[in-house]
């Protein structure tokens, strides 16, 4: 197998790794928020809402982390991956 073909395959593998890395940022963030919710369930006041005020029900840190992951995964990452793949094909 020629070294040129090997290097091209390595380049394709590297590029696909980049796409996978971008795709994993959002889910990794969401996973961090979910892990936090399991570690400190009392931070998720929706689980025990009785007697809680508006802010304790509206702003819950583990859910904010999950929300940040969702926003990135669904609003930002898809277009980045699409443009990255177009760019790599052009290369």
């Amino acid at each position: 197998m020629s070294t040129q073909l090997l290097s091209e395959r390595a380049a394709v593998r590297r590029r696909s790794r980049r796409a996978r890395a971008v795709a994993s940022l959002g889910p990794a963030t969401m996973l961090g928020g979910v892990a936090w919710a399991f570690l400190q369930p009392y931070r998720v006041t929706l689980l025990h809402p009785h007697g809680q005020g508006f802010w304790w029900l509206a702003i819950e840190p583990p859910l904010l982390v999950v929300l940040a992951g969702i926003v990135f995964a669904f609003l930002v990452a898809p277009s980045v991956i699409e443009d990255l793949e177009t760019y790599e094909e052009g290369q």
Binding site: L25, A68, G69, V76, D83, Y87
Partner: protein, 194 residues
């Protein structure tokens, strides 16, 4: 209806995490791909600028001493400056890469403001610990955006820059009203709330 201060910290933490995620993606795919869509090019600088603007009401409504107010005011100004400089560069209104020096400047000024306005020692309470930790993180972290100005294609430095925002977000998420840190809480700090 005004939220307690810790909620405001958590909302800003979410903004920092989003900026960090955008910077991480930009570091991975490179500027050329990241800026293929105009809205994306403006995304994190716009977010940084907006957070700077929103810091002003925080300065007005959530501070209880002059030095505290000045610290929040300095964060507002440097966040707006660094966000606006990046917006200007992306839009093409600014040309010199040295405008990016506003970001390490923002880190250094913010870190100094954290350290100067915290009057108590590390283990006084959780808030004091976080002020010291965030302050030193910002001072040391200023190195990352500084290096990326001179080595813009280095994924390592750019990833470290992105990660700094995520770490700062995590630290802000750790903020509580009056809470101990590693079991330490000075009796002068008041009654533990949460």
């Amino acid at each position: 209806m005004q939220p307690p201060a810790e909620f405001v910290h958590w909302m800003f933490a979410t903004g920092l995490v989003l900026v960090g995620l955008c910077l991480a993606a930009q570091a991975i795919v490179g500027d050329e791909v990241w800026r293929r869509r105009a809205w994306r090019a403006y995304l994190w600088p716009g977010l940084a600028f907006t957070m700077g603007v929103l810091m002003f009401p925080v300065m007005v409504f959530f501070t209880n001493s002059t030095i505290h107010m000045l610290a929040h005011g300095s964060w507002a100004q440097v966040m707006m400056l660094s966000g606006a400089a990046e917006l200007g560069l992306v839009r093409g209104k600014l040309h010199s890469r040295y405008w990016r020096l506003t970001m390490p400047l923002a880190f250094a000024v913010s870190g100094a403001a954290f350290l100067i306005h915290e009057q108590n020692s590390w283990f006084f309470a959780r808030a004091a610990f976080l002020h010291h930790l965030i302050g030193w993180t910002l001072i040391v972290g200023a190195l990352f955006p500084l290096v990326t100005i001179f080595r813009p294609s280095s994924a390592v430095w750019r990833s470290a820059f992105a990660l700094t925002f995520v770490v700062l977000g995590v630290m802000l998420y750790c903020d509580r009203d009056v809470a101990p840190v590693f079991g330490h809480l000075s009796p002068l700090a008041g009654q533990q709330h949460r």
